[in-house]
């Protein structure tokens, strides 16, 4: 008896006939009945008859037959679709019952037919992971792939990415690449296996943004709960701020850079951006892998920071203007003396750190802490990884903006 077999199961006077499902466990047989319902039957005392083997190939998604070769249209721009996995191109794994990513970029085209006719596409798979499994190694691969695509003539790049760590990857590419074309990250908050998924609109808007004039690394996701407008966030100022809503992504401290109207397909911007073609394509993908982001909380065991010993960089998420318990300051001093760059950010998220106001702050500055301004903690970590590997003066670099991650003036909500 195997998944895919047609079986008849009798137990306690009830007969169930249907296809044995892979979600069957040691305790329960799971049958898909002819009406479509799944039902779990305790194995104990169950009498099973296999009526027909391999009636249905439960492992196959029915790929192949409807995969058509997309014709190249000279009048359309070329957009590279790069997949890293994630819910925009995911399906149900009914062995585990979870939603997993398993489509490649070609499948994305098939899954989102609305993309057709907007551009010529070049699909590419860099990884097939859930975004919580993202690593700096994959960032390097991703940057290299994007670089290659642009070099090969792509007029824009759309990166399909799981939403959990999208902001880190977007920040990483912001620092690693000088780009003459838009690089747009998108994904979906609600899985692609539901008719209501946000994947179609997000993908369509991301392609429109990738065709636009803004040669920036951006995140393109729903601006509200409605399927009307996608927001375009700068890759270094964006944060996933809700666990499940479609409009989970927010630009911190300001309105999003721009937006895409789903209905009219117009892309508009609120602020200046790097124009298409202004920059020369370049890549610097090295990263220092031994950089940590740590959060200070009241009552924490100072021993928690013992493992920072020997790291080349540490980003602290301090309280308020950028503070930690006074008792931790000597520890920071040791790290700095040991050669680490220790940067301060705030768990307030909004606003910049300022360690000149209170005694604790002044003591932190004396200990060698670098203020990262209003850089977001997550962005600061990626940035520190990059500046240690790519600049001579990481301390100076952490205090100025390289890619819009640190604003000069606090001028909120514009």
């Amino acid at each position: 008896m195997n998944p895919g077999d047609r079986v008849r199961v009798e137990r306690a006077g009830v007969t169930n006939e249907g296809v044995l499902m892979p979600s069957t466990t040691a305790d329960y047989l799971v049958i898909k009945r002819d009406g479509g319902y799944n039902v779990g039957i305790e194995r104990e005392d169950a009498e099973v008859d296999v009526l027909e083997t391999d009636v249905y190939d439960v492992g196959d998604e029915g790929e192949g037959e409807d995969s058509s070769v997309v014709e190249f249209d000279d009048d359309l721009p070329t957009i590279a679709l790069i997949s890293t996995g994630g819910t925009i191109a995911s399906t149900v794994d009914y062995r585990t019952g979870a939603v997993t990513a398993r489509f490649d970029a070609e499948d994305v085209l098939r899954a989102v037919p609305d993309l057709a006719g907007r551009a010529n596409y070049r699909g590419r798979v860099v990884a097939n992971i859930l975004s919580e499994n993202m690593t700096p190694e994959i960032w390097r691969d991703l940057a290299a792939a994007v670089h290659e695509e642009i070099e090969a003539g792509a007029d824009g790049v759309v990166v399909m990415h799981g939403t959990d760590t999208m902001q880190y990857s977007a920040a990483a590419l912001s620092f690693m690449l000088d780009t003459p074309v838009p690089i747009v990250f998108t994904g979906s908050q609600r899985s692609a296996d539901r008719p209501s998924s946000d994947n179609v609109m997000n993908a369509v808007c991301a392609v429109e943004a990738a065709k636009s004039d803004a040669a920036e690394v951006m995140v393109c996701m729903h601006a509200s709960e409605s399927d009307d407008v996608c927001a375009l966030h700068e890759g270094t100022r964006v944060r996933k701020s809700h666990t499940s809503r479609r409009d989970a992504f927010r630009t911190i401290g300001a309105k999003p850079l721009g937006e895409v109207d789903y209905d009219t397909e117009t892309v508009s911007f609120r602020r200046d951006y790097a124009e298409r073609g202004a920059a020369t394509l370049d890549i610097a993908a090295d990263l220092a892998d031994d950089v940590e982001l740590v959060k200070f909380t009241p009552g924490m065991d100072p021993a928690a920071w013992d493992y920072l010993e020997g790291k080349s960089g540490v980003v602290i998420e301090g309280t308020g203007l950028g503070h930690v318990h006074t008792d931790l300051i000597p520890r920071i001093e040791e790290l700095v003396d040991d050669g680490a760059v220790v940067a301060m950010t705030s768990q307030c998220l909004e606003g910049r750190v300022c360690d000149r106001v209170y005694d604790t702050g002044r003591d932190l500055l004396d200990a060698g802490v670098v203020e990262a301004g209003d850089t977001l903690p997550e962005t600061a970590k990626v940035k520190l990884m990059w500046v240690i590997a790519n600049t001579d003066d990481p301390v100076g670099a952490m205090q100025r903006s390289l890619n819009g991650e640190l604003t000069e003036q606090s001028r909120p909500w514009t």
Partner: protein, 621 residues
Amino acid sequence: MSEYDYEDLGLVAGLEIHQQLDTATKLYCQCPTARREPEEATRTFTRYLHPTKSELGEIDDAALEESRVDREFEYLAFDTTCLVEEDDEPPHHIDDEALDVGMQIAAMLDMSVVDQAHVMRKLVVDGSNTSGFQRTTLIGQEGQIETSEGPVGVEDLLLEEESAGRVEETDDGVRYSLDRLGIPLVEIGTKPDISSPEQAREAAERIGMLLRSTGKVKRGLGTIRQDVNVSIADGARVEMKGVQTLDDIEDLVRLEVQRQVELLEIRDELQARDASVGETQDVTDTFEGTESGVIEGALDGGKVTAVPLFGFDGLVGHELQPDRRLGTEFSDHAKRHGAGGIFHTDELPAYGVTQEEVDALKEAVGAGDDDAVAIAAADTETAELAIAAVKERAEAAIEGVPEETRGANDEATTRYLRPLPGAARMYPETDVPPVEPDPSEVEIPELLTERVDRYQAEFGLDAGLAEQVAFGRRMPLFEQAVADGIDATLAAGTLESTTTELRRDDVPVQNLTDDHLLDVLQLVDAGDLAKEGIVDVLTVLAENPDLSAEEAVEEAGLSGVDEAEVRAAVEEVVDRNEEQVEEQGMGAFSALMGEAMGALRGKADGEIVSSTLREEIQKRS
């Protein structure tokens, strides 16, 4: 309506009953199951749906045909709905209370509860579910109910989430209200064991009674929906939706049998005539300068299409159900594609279409005396789609009865809605883990029929009142009142007869809360309000629901009548009728009693007035 021998015809019918549950929270979130008015919405948002493949890789044609995919759906959200209804948060664990009620219903239907329940997604792309699917779970199997014509098997019991309520059509799509989305719903499907219209009604009645016996089902319009499946031998399975009342079930079954019998008769005649359906064609030219308003209206930019129906003469006008002919069925199909309807030669000349035009039409499509022609007039696309649909339906008529889903009309006739839904539109809801229901603690509640018997035996209520109370909405309140020591007859009369009378007098009884009613009964029980004052006090309360029962008594001018006042009022009446009392003695009692009660205007208890009056009459005579 002709009466048939249903056994002879091989009538097979089954029921599908959907009932909303009255649980504290919804099936997959902690929101209340309260209904709201659209005006109370706190937010709105819009969505599109993009249908996907089901687990078995097939898209359900019926589900897709049900709606156009490019429609924009607008949703109304309330302070009683949350992100789960908005499909912006994963569903929570399946609601325990709903599962308990489900298991109780399973027990009452003599069903086996499944060992492990798997939540499924049923594809629904008409926007009535924000997710694009309805969550539904098989929880019971293999049950049975009794009817006077024998047992009826119950196939399955499903626990599902109710869809969002349709508020209205908008320019771009449909507006839905999220208050209803996620209310637990049980769906009970019987086996096709029903063999007469009466049995269909009885089975539906029985299941309805069992459901209401749980005390956990919603009441009122739209909270229960019945679908009826009917076929006869040689006929086909037809699913009828949207059946409103139990009476309709009987008529619907009867009329569907008639429809299938008549369709078979038409089939036999068509086959005997070697009938066939020709190709559709454009006959716009034939109607140039027509007097027919309908056709002329369509000709401006549109066209007239026709299909010749060879050998159909006289049969398109053949009646299937009261006032519904084969031609009406053609029309139903044309309407689904946006046409206003069709004309056919069995009913022409009429509607401004002349005999000459009919002749020209027949000539144009090559139809002779034994043939019929159907035409559609509309904008070009609609006219083409409509006539193609008519062609398809006419071809089916030669084969017999088509399988389909039909909607109930007011007169228990039905109209074509869509093809029967396919089976493969279900895939697992991966956001909710399977549950193992434990039916060992489930108790079968007292059935409402048993309750009627008990109310008669225990409280001496008459059969009619006992049934009214037991099946009524205020049964739990009645139980509470009786438990509080209030006289059962008083409670039953007040909660049922009195409120019915008040409703008849246009008193807004819907404003009366359980507390109002219970408080009033308690005032009577405590002797602070005369029974005769109940009507006045409830009227005041219904009109001023913010008042307390005590305040309402005062407002009605019924407070503060003590025994001395009663005696004074009675003395006055007796004085006024001194002669009568002297002449008739106790014989004057009834007349004076009425007068005394009138004088006291219901402020005093009848028994006290009566005993005081007796004393006073005795004194004088």
